[in-house]
Amino acid sequence: MSLLPAPDEVKKRVQDNVIWKSIFRPGSIYRKGYRDTSRDRALASMNNVLYHLHPVKVKRHGLKLTYTYCLGGSSFFLFILLTITGIFLMFFYRPTAGAGGQELAYLDMQNLRDTVTFGDLVRNMHRWSAHLMVFTTFLHMARVFYHGAYKAPREFNWVVGVILLVLTLLLSFTGYLLPWDQLAQWAVAVGTQMAGFTPVLGQQVQFVLLGGAEIGPETLLRWYVLHVLAFPFILTIFLAVHFWRIRKDGGISGPL
């Protein structure tokens, strides 16, 4: 007889623990006595904060990969991946540029590449995920159109979706400036020049966007705050509405 209790015994004791039971609500697959019954399956998604974004039951046809191509979910997952990698990058990046001072932004980019552990990999992941997210969001919109999934009662969720697409583009575009290299500077220059042609308010719009008459340190700081805080905040709110409306409007559309 060994001194250590058997693994089953350990599992039982852990699951009987009052702390464990306070963390995992009834029906959680981590709680003792989870059985593969309809009741526990329902409880498993109801009593989990992440899973309960979904309804307890979903239409069977919606599970087919060739219906959704997982595009909306992929966009959402890429957003999460971007948030995680973005938080990592924030530890090593200071949005400070030129104007007589140090070029900290660009210096930090070089350090991320060369000295920070995993810095290069995480930056690459952030950049490629950003492009991918724009792409999957576009495709998601096309998929929704071709399935007529914007029709009543889902009209408003399509509007929310278009707003999310715009926010995705804005997030990507504001992030484009942050490396503060030639690519960033001039891509943003081209983009913001167009805003200057807004009727009547052209000059003002451009001034607000750039924080000055031309791209400079103020632009960098402004776009940094928009990129890491303002737009993700707004996007999260609209995402919540988007997901909530999917459920309220009767789950996934179709079948065709």
Partner: protein, 291 residues
């Protein structure tokens, strides 16, 4: 009735003479034939209350007894009294007499428990009807179930499992791709040195391409703004409720047109535009495209 039933010509002629339509006359004439055949075969026909005469034993006496009882029952007990009077077997498989005997026995066992009721237990037990008609319930039922039954499965584990696989696949793809492909980082930003060509990020290259053809206010402001507003309004002017491709040809053609147009413009702007945003062949002049 698959095989033809002969028409009772006499009934048919009568009905036609009464001015009934040919269709109704024919149907009733056929029914008359069937009825005649059943009567000839000794079958009972018609509603049960009327059939009381046929199964000889259950006598008219019972029916007569039922009538005053029904009257005594006051407002309610009409319909069941008539039925009970027939002595026909009810839903429970018991005759009225048997049921009454049971009720009486049960009440006797309970003593005077039932006597609190008006008229007392015994009186109640002796009545010929055991329940009263309180309301007519429409045949569709009181509860209407609105939502159609749909073919659904539990989110856990069906959907969550495939989402988990998708998450793993995306993570693996992004990590491997990022390990292999380096994101660009050019030299330090220099406002005095304009690279040639200067290109916007790829998702704005369709607009930059449009800049070649239109005034900047049209290409850079009007077209994207109008496009966005129209895109948002799309569900409100597409009134066609169908989501079937065969019913949505116009919508498909229109949307596909804009989709292909923007894709073509993006591809041209990305790969076929070189220094000065002039047209180049990527396979001879090289790629002027960076992500």
């Amino acid at each position: 009735m698959a095989d033809e039933v002969e028409i009772d010509q006499k009934v048919y002629d009568e009905l036609i003479a009464q001015g009934k339509s040919e269709r109704i006359a024919r149907a009733r004439a056929k029914a008359a034939t069937v009825k005649a055949q059943k009567v000839a075969a000794g079958e009972t026909i018609g509603p049960r209350a009327q059939s009381a005469e046929a199964p000889a034993a259950a006598p008219a006496a019972a029916a007569k007894a039922a009538a005053p009882a029904a009257a005594a029952g006051g407002g309610g007990g009409v319909a069941t009294a008539e039925r009970a009077g027939g002595g026909v077997r009810g839903a429970g498989g018991l005759t009225v007499e048997e049921r009454q005997a049971r009720v009486a026995a049960a009440l006797a066992q309970r003593g005077n428990g039932a006597s609190t009721r008006t008229g007392g237990g015994a009186a109640l037990a002796n009545q010929d009807h055991t329940h009263r008609l309180l309301a007519m319930v429409p045949p569709t039922g009181i509860q209407q179930i609105r939502g159609k039954q749909e073919d659904k499965v539990y989110t856990w584990p069906h959907l969550i499992a495939s989402e988990f696989i998708a998450v793993l696949a995306w993570t693996a793809f992004v990590v491997i791709f990022s390990a292999l492909v380096q994101a660009p980082l050019r030299e330090l930003a220099n406002p005095n040195l304009t690279p040639n060509p200067s290109k916007a990020p790829w998702y704005f290259l369709a607009l930059q391409e449009l800049l070649r053809y239109f005034h900047p206010m049209v290409a850079g402001v009007t077209i994207p703004t109008v496009g966005l507003l129209l895109g948002m309004a799309l569900p409100y002017f597409d009134k066609n409720p169908s989501n079937k491709p065969e019913n949505r040809k116009t919508a498909y053609v229109a949307f596909t047109f804009f989709l292909v147009l923007s894709a073509v413009l993006t591809i041209i702007g990305s790969f076929y535009r070189g220094p000065g945003f002039e047209f180049v062949w990527p396979w001879t002049d090289g790629l002027y495209f960076e992500l």
